[in-house]
């Protein structure tokens, strides 16, 4: 005998409530937050070495193309003198410091989300919040402009507001709100970092070209001196090529951070989410790290 319609309705409602409770009570998928934090930290850490190579290349360029004929304290300062002798600088360190600080803010923010997503989180969250605050301060002190400082401030405010939430479903809902509020800040910072990558790559090619141009006019005619000289130039070419590869890989990875963030946020509503964007970010971070590790190994062999 078929159950009465009212009984069927009751049974359906009971099933829906049971699933609802199960969804609310399901643990937060903290592994995704770990993976997001790890990938973002890898990008931030590897960027320090890559940006260091750009600064090294700038120094080498100035060694080959010093200012003026006579050596003095300003001979190797990265600058050009205008018609009236006033210097115009092309020191890339401040620009690179901004990018590095912005990546640290994103990595610290990801660490804080990871801490909050796990049980017994309070101590780790406190540490991550302090680290984020310091990175946002460093970002504000760099030449990144108001929009970068503002975006960093948004992330710090969101993390400061996480507070205590002992019950699992309250933590899930707090995470949802936090990530929704943080998404524009994540978008802005990643966009600013990735946006000027083209120009940094042009700078690397221009510096390399300038070194080669001067090297050709200085190249010893024959013998072991020539081989030794060529060896130094070969080192510059190889290293600059590695730097270009790493800048490219870094850009591809940074561009994936906002979508991976949105992906994880979506998974808090839909546990069956495929996490494609997060996987793409992890793949790019691995590619970057592989390129970085191969450069480190090659440096160690020298």
């Amino acid at each position: 005998m078929r159950p009465a319609p009212i009984d069927r309705l009751r049974a359906t409602a009971l099933l829906a409530i049971t699933f609802g409770i199960a969804a609310c009570g399901a643990p937060i998928p903290s592994g995704r937050f770990v993976a997001f934090a790890d990938a973002t930290r890898t990008i931030a850490n590897d960027s320090v070495a890559t940006y260091g190579h750009v600064v090294d290349l700038e120094r080498t360029y100035m060694l080959y193309n010093p200012n003026g004929d006579k050596l003095n304290e300003a001979s190797f300062a990265p600058r050009i003198l205008d018609d009236s002798g006033r210097p115009l600088t092309f020191n890339f360190e401040p620009q690179l410091a901004f990018r590095s600080a912005a990546l640290d803010v994103l990595a610290d923010y990801a660490d804080a989300l990871h801490a909050f997503a796990t049980k017994d989180y309070q101590q780790d969250l406190d540490a991550a919040t302090q680290s984020l605050g310091a990175s946002v301060g460093r970002l504000a002190a760099t030449a990144g402009g108001a929009s970068a400082a503002q975006a960093g401030g948004v992330l710090a405010t969101v993390i400061n507001g996480l507070g205590r939430a002992e019950i699992e479903h309250l933590r899930r809902s707090t995470l949802r709100d936090a990530m929704d509020k943080a998404q524009p800040g994540v978008d802005t910072l990643a966009g600013l970092i990735a946006g000027d990558n083209t120009e940094i790559m042009i700078a690397v090619r221009t510096l390399r070209k300038g070194i080669l141009r001067k090297a050709n006019s200085l190249r010893p005619a024959t013998g072991i001196t020539r081989i030794s000289f060529d060896g130094a130039i070969q080192g510059v070419i190889v290293e600059s090529e590695d730097t270009l590869t790493q800048l490219d890989a870094m850009n591809a990875a940074v561009a994936k951070i906002p979508r991976a963030h949105a992906d994880i946020r979506h998974s808090l509503d839909d546990s069956a989410s495929t996490m494609e964007q997060l996987r793409a970010l992890i793949a790019e971070a691995k590619r970057l790290n592989k390129s970085y590790q191969s450069t480190v190994s090659s440096d160690e062999r020298k």
Binding site: N65, F90, Q95, T198, E199, I202, R213
Partner: protein, 105 residues
């Protein structure tokens, strides 16, 4: 931020480099000096984070484009080398002025 002036300027620097190889004497020396100046101006322009909205941006871009078009690929013999050198110098002056304005902002 705008990449156009920087990209065009890097292209001009590269073309002038080719031109140096195809010239001799005083013209060659002038071009060598201009090439180094353009190279450093490219770096200064990147460092200055130029904006399209900046006054003088369109004029600088037009001067660079004009010099690039006159040189072409830089392989062929340039008929009026002194005119070409003047165009390159004009482009370099326009960029220098733009970078100075950006630095002063």
């Amino acid at each position: 931020m705008s990449h156009e002036v920087v990209e065009q300027l890097a292209g001009l620097s590269s073309r002038v480099d080719n031109l140096v190889a195809n010239t001799t004497g005083d013209a060659c020396r002038q071009l060598e000096r201009l090439q180094e100046r353009l190279e450093k101006l490219t770096l200064a322009a990147i460092s200055a984070d130029l904006q399209e909205s900046q006054s003088g941006y369109a004029g600088a871009l037009s001067a660079i484009t004009s010099a690039n078009e006159t040189i072409g690929e830089g392989d062929a013999q340039i008929q009026q080398i002194s005119k070409t050198i003047a165009l390159i110098a004009k482009a370099a002056d326009a960029v220098e002025s733009l970078v100075k304005k950006a630095a002063a902002m």
